[in-house]
């Protein structure tokens, strides 16, 4: 596989991970986590692990964001420092 694409996507995954950690707004963190799982699925697919990519796709796109958002709805939206 073309290693440049792999590197770019890896960098993006790391960026999104840091972004999700760094934002103080929990809803934004949930949304960024969704994008993180998209890119992670792409990374698995590039590496050839199709089953793992499928799992990541269904879990990340389907339910994990919804569960996190609903948990945020029932608790608070701001992190305290």
């Amino acid at each position: 596989m073309i290693w440049q694409i792999e590197l770019i996507i890896l960098v993006l995954v790391v960026l999104f991970g840091f972004g999700a950690l760094a934002t103080k707004d929990l809803l934004s963190a949930a949304i960024l986590f969704g994008a993180y799982s998209f890119l992670l699925c792409l990374l698995w697919a590039i590496m050839g692990a199709v089953d793992v990519a499928f799992t990541e796709a269904s879990v990340g796109a389907g339910v994990s964001t919804v569960l996190i958002v609903s948990a945020v709805l029932r608790t608070t939206r701001r992190t305290d420092h």
């Binding site: 998209f38 964001t65 958002v69 939206r77």
Partner: protein, 84 residues
Amino acid sequence: MLLPTYRCLIGPTVFDRLVGVNAIGSKTIVMLILIGLIYKRVDMFVDIALAYAMLNFIAVLAASRYFQKQKGLYDKTGKRTPLI
């Protein structure tokens, strides 16, 4: 794909992040099929792309439901500081 990432990470409000995530999702579908073509096994990757096409909007719907329930960009506590 880099530019929506900018909008996602920097974007002033939550909604800009949502827009960015939506754009990234549609690009992901195309990239998956492209990877399938490169590996010459499109029949495998098409399933993943189909799952994405079906499930991509659940996250957006959930986030929009959040705003329908919890009115306003502001927190419940009454601090009128905009959440970024």
